[in-house]
């Protein structure tokens, strides 16, 4: 097929979910696992991208060539006796659920959106509400194929090409193209989650609730980052287990609600978010609320509104996620972060806090570590947002924590290298033709 060999660097633009930064690149869709290496290698550096659901610039490469992997969407094998699924790397978790749930299986680990690809889930070694029990997504990956730009194909597992396995899980797509993946699914007998929501005020109460629910599979909390005074750090602690009561395992309906336009940027401000938070906190009247809920609203409340990122206007949003190790006594790092946010006058619409467990992550650059993780998002407001993020990164560093590359657009090279001192040994595994905007940003001083 004739293809323009010159990069075009124009429409259609590929944006990450945060829509910041906006970097132009040439796009090449892959349809088959044999499409790479490309017959006519581009003159630029390369980066494979999945669904573009990471927030910052780990899935971007200015003036480079992005290999879109969504066309690698085939299931290759499934064994219902063991729950082991082999599929191509561009299959989304939503497609896996559509396939697996009617057969009585569920994802071993799922993030807050099901619209990520399985390749992206490995590249960022994602985590979910069961991290304290199940570890990261990478812990459930049995093997995958990695293809390098020189045409070498490696089958990687914890025992075969184990160093490539470790470098590629959390390797942000830099080690080569993942073509297919084998993961182990977990059995379920119902779509339902036995849910309990508990209101809390303050980090100590959140920590106590987390410790008391250490054996519940899924735990996470929503936290109000606007409230001050007596309501400081109020939130709702949400926990759940897969229901053990057998029920029909139907496939999910396709979402129909989409946010059609960019919302004007003044719409999200401290007052509208503060109002939302008060309404959300008081939606649950009692201290505790229990019930059986479908897995869709439990795991993916935002997926029902397609393109919800347009809520932040066309300039996009900034995400921030850190993990801080446990501190003796008060969790001062988390408290200082929350105080820095309220002091800045900026508000985070979707603030989530969770306790990570101590299951070791298989990836060299995996983000999760034992402690408390806090995920926030902010509208982009001139220098105010950048200053705040820099401040939050400094607090993270002072308290011995680290930040999550998949949700970052702003950390400096010094900060990244302090968070991930192993980055130099990882760099040896990067494909010589691969690069990303994130990697350029965090290694320029290296």
């Amino acid at each position: 097929m004739p293809r323009n060999p010159q990069p075009k660097f124009e429409s259609p633009k590929f944006e990450s979910w945060g829509r910041y930064p906006k970097l132009e690149a040439d796009l090449i869709p892959l349809s088959w696992t044999t499409d790479f290496p490309l017959p006519q290698p581009p003159a630029t550096k390369i980066l494979p991208v999945g669904a573009g659901r990471s927030y910052g610039d780990v899935c971007l490469l200015e003036h480079g060539t992005l290999l879109k992997t969504r066309g690698l969407d085939r299931f290759l094998h499934f064994d219902p006796a063991t729950g082991i699924l082999r599929c191509e790397a561009g299959v989304t978790l939503a497609e896996i659920l559509d396939f697996a749930v009617p057969r009585g299986f569920f994802l071993p680990v799922t993030p807050g959106t099901k619209y990520v690809t399985v390749g992206g889930a490995i590249a960022n070694d994602i985590h979910g509400k069961n991290h304290h029990i199940a570890g990261t997504f990478g812990s459930h990956v049995l093997r995958f194929e990695l293809v390098r730009s020189d045409g070498a194909r490696f089958e990687c597992s914890p025992t075969e090409n184990a160093d490539w396995f470790a470098a590629t899980i959390s390797g942000m797509g830099l080690t080569g193209l993942i073509t297919w993946v084998e993961i182990r699914l977990r059995p379920i007998v119902s779509r339902k989650i036995q849910y309990k929501g508990t209101k809390f005020v303050g980090i100590d109460e959140f920590v106590a609730l987390s410790k008391a629910s250490a054996h519940t599979e899924y735990t996470v909390a929503w936290i109000d980052c606007v409230a001050i005074g007596n309501n400081f750090a109020r939130g709702i602690f949400m926990q759940g287990d897969h229901s053990t009561q057998p029920e029909p395992l139907n496939r999910s309906k396709e979402p129909w609600l989409t946010l059609p336009l960019d919302v004007p940027e003044f719409a999200l401000n401290k007052f509208s978010i503060g109002l939302f938070n008060t309404l959300y906190y008081n939606k649950q009247l009692g201290k505790e609320k229990t019930g059986l809920v479908d897995y869709e609203p439990f795991f993916y409340p935002l997926d029902s509104l397609l393109h919800w990122n347009r809520m932040y206007g066309k300039s996009g949003l900034l995400q921030f996620q850190c993990v801080l190790p446990w501190e003796d006594g008060n969790q001062m790092g988390i408290i200082n972060i929350l105080k820095a946010i309220t002091a800045s006058g900026l508000a985070s619409f979707l603030a989530v806090i969770k306790v990570f467990g101590d299951v070791p992550s298989p990836g060299m650059l995996s983000f999760p570590a034992p402690g408390i993780t806090l995920a926030l998002d902010f509208p982009i407001r001139a220098e105010v947002s950048f200053d705040l993020l820099h401040r939050l990164a400094s607090i993270t560093q002072e308290h011995g924590g680290r930040m999550y590359p998949a949700k970052d657009a702003r950390m400096t090279a010094d900060q990244f290298q302090a968070f991930y001192p192993q980055w130099r040994s990882f760099a040896k595994y990067i494909d010589p033709l691969f690069d990303s905007a994130f990697w350029q940003r965090v290694t320029t001083r290296g």
Binding site: M1, W32, G71, F75, L76, H77, E88
Partner: protein
């Protein structure tokens, strides 16, 4: 008109086509059996594994270049034997070509007419007789909106599809009375490997959505199906432009 029962014994010519995959996946989930024909063995194997994993009861494969019409008959007879019966035959192979190159070369034009028209005619001839003698079945052929009018930007491809449309019209006129459903499928822009080099716009449809549209047309026993349906309206407008004006347009 009564809806057809869902097809369950399916022959697909050009089985690695993205649109064909969009048609086959929902049928595989219902346990259909397939006989798949394609040129590239690795791609064919990936498609077969996908359909088997999704629930196909049997998947037979045949690696063949459909340009070679001499071997069609043996292959089709084998397909009918392996599947026991064929109740849906989907012809999905085809090439887009490169208009600027093709218009300067009869050899290139001939190659496109051979693949998109003549090789399809060879398959349709056997299949029309097969379905006529079994008094059942759906013969679904992927044509294109490009066959509705000749445009300077792709008339070689358009002519191959336009000829196919007329051939199918005649076959339908002949075997409809035997209870055979002949479906001419006219997709608009679809985001597939065949169009990967074309700048995409909002009119580009996902192959899975196009596949669902084709399945609906099979179920409703439509004669001609524009997919997505918006193309019926677009082509109504395009077809109604008088030639005296049309020839001046840059389309």
């Amino acid at each position: 008109m009564a809806n057809s029962p869902k097809p369950s014994h399916i022959l697909v010519l050009g089985a690695t086509s993205a649109i064909a995959i969009g048609v086959m996946r929902p049928l595989a989930e219902q346990g259909a059996s397939f006989y798949l024909v394609a040129r590239n063995p690795e791609k064919l194997k990936a498609v077969a594994s996908d359909l088997e994993t999704r629930g196909a009861s049997a998947v037979f494969t045949c690696v063949m270049d459909l340009d070679d019409t001499a071997v069609h008959e043996a292959m089709l007879a084998e397909a009918a034997g392996k599947l026991e019966t064929i109740d849906l035959a989907l012809i999905a192979h085809g090439i887009l070509g490169d208009q600027e190159h093709d218009q300067a070369s009869f050899a290139a034009t001939e190659a496109i007419l051979h693949t998109n028209f003549l090789s399809a005619v060879s398959l349709i001839t056997w299949l029309a007789n097969y379905f006529e003698s079994t008094h059942q079945g759906t013969l679904a052929v992927i044509s294109s909106v490009a066959g509705d009018r000749g445009r300077k930007s792709n008339y070689v491809y358009g002519a191959s599809k336009g000829a196919l449309n007329i051939f199918l019209e005649g076959v339908r006129n002949r075997i409809d009375r035997s209870g055979v459903h002949v479906l001419t499928i006219k997709p608009g822009f679809v985001a597939t490997p065949m169009t990967a080099h074309v700048p995409q716009n909002a009119l580009f449809a996902h192959p899975a959505a196009v596949g669902r549209g084709i399945l609906k047309a099979i179920e409703k026993r439509k004669d001609v199906a524009y997919v997505p349906p918006i193309w019926a309206l677009i082509m109504l407008v395009i077809r109604s432009i008088p030639e005296a004006i049309f020839k001046k347009l840059n389309l």
